[in-house]
């Protein structure tokens, strides 16, 4: 695998990790500050095991890390990786939005009949 393919695979993992509502929620929680697995599990009616599985997916995507030394092993959000992925998606979205704003203008100028008004 070339390094670009490897990076593309990594990027896939980032988008895929963020596509799940619980994981997005966990990322939002971690954006406030580091938290332990128990703290992260509190709002949900799911097992610690399920939360650990979500964390594993976020970790493999490079979105979160855990400090090995500390006893509590809090989860830490790798904010820069998160920001980059959301920035790319937002840029793609913005380009689509600009395209559709051009379409808004074209639609507003169109007549209701079959043919488009002749250009004068």
């Amino acid at each position: 695998m070339s390094s670009q393919q490897a990076t593309a695979k990594q990027l896939s993992q980032v988008f895929s990790a963020l596509a799940d509502p619980i994981r997005r929620d966990m990322v939002a929680r971690l954006a406030i500050g580091d938290a332990t697995v128990t703290e992260l599990a509190e709002p949900y009616d799911v097992s610690l095991q399920a939360i650990s599985k979500h964390l594993k997916i976020l970790g493999e995507a490079g979105l979160v890390s855990r400090t090995r030394e500390a006893q509590r092993r809090p989860v830490h959000l790798e904010a820069e990786v998160f920001d980059l992925a959301t920035k790319w998606l937002e840029r793609y979205r913005r380009e689509a939005e600009e395209r559709y704003q051009r379409l808004d203008e074209v639609l507003a100028a169109m007549s209701d009949t079959d043919k488009e008004p002749e250009e004068s």
Partner: protein
């Protein structure tokens, strides 16, 4: 397909990267009838007015917009190193007022092809919801599309990510 559809109407374009299949979902609403939005997608004279970015001039090579037809168009612009040209082509698999299915290939990457389904729904007040589901052959290809942009391009994007992952890899 698992995707998060917003419950409330959103005035701006909503983009979702699917987590189960290599697809991109786009939703946008328009203050115009489905018939008008359909004509803006099928009539090449109208299409050239909005499809390409403002910085490019769009030229339709051929446009046979009917079930079983095909199309090809070009985007031209003056770049830093002279004139730049980007060509795109595909086939119309199905064309009808509420649904268009077509393939799409950027000729700079001829092995890549996406299958795009456009759905037009009539909303209250003569408005229209456009939904596009675009699927490609792999998650890698999908994410390259998401990460590519007219300004910075995919390579620069990947370099940034490489750098970040290297920095984060030590912890």
């Amino acid at each position: 397909m698992s995707k998060t559809q917003p419950a409330i109407t959103h005035p701006e374009t909503v983009i979702t990267a699917d987590d189960e299949v290599p697809a991109i979902h786009i939703v946008r609403e328009f203050d115009a009838s489905p018939d008008k939005v359909y004509r803006a997608h099928t009539d090449p004279e109208i299409l050239v007015k909005w499809l390409g970015p403002r910085s490019v001039e769009m030229e339709v090579d051929f446009w046979d917009c009917r079930t079983g037809g095909s199309y090809r168009y070009l985007h031209r612009r003056d770049g830093d190193d002279g004139a730049e040209e980007y060509a795109f082509h595909g086939c119309f698999h199905e064309v009808r007022p509420d649904r268009m299915v077509q393939t799409f290939t950027y000729e700079g990457y001829p092995d890549g092809v996406s299958l795009e389904t456009l759905i037009l729904e009539e909303l209250d007040g003569g408005r229209t919801r456009l939904t596009i589901n675009s699927i490609v052959e792999s998650f890698e290809a999908r994410d390259m599309i998401l990460a590519s942009g007219m300004e910075t391009g995919v390579v620069e994007g990947y370099e940034q990510l490489d750098e970040l992952l290297r920095e984060g890899g030590e912890s």
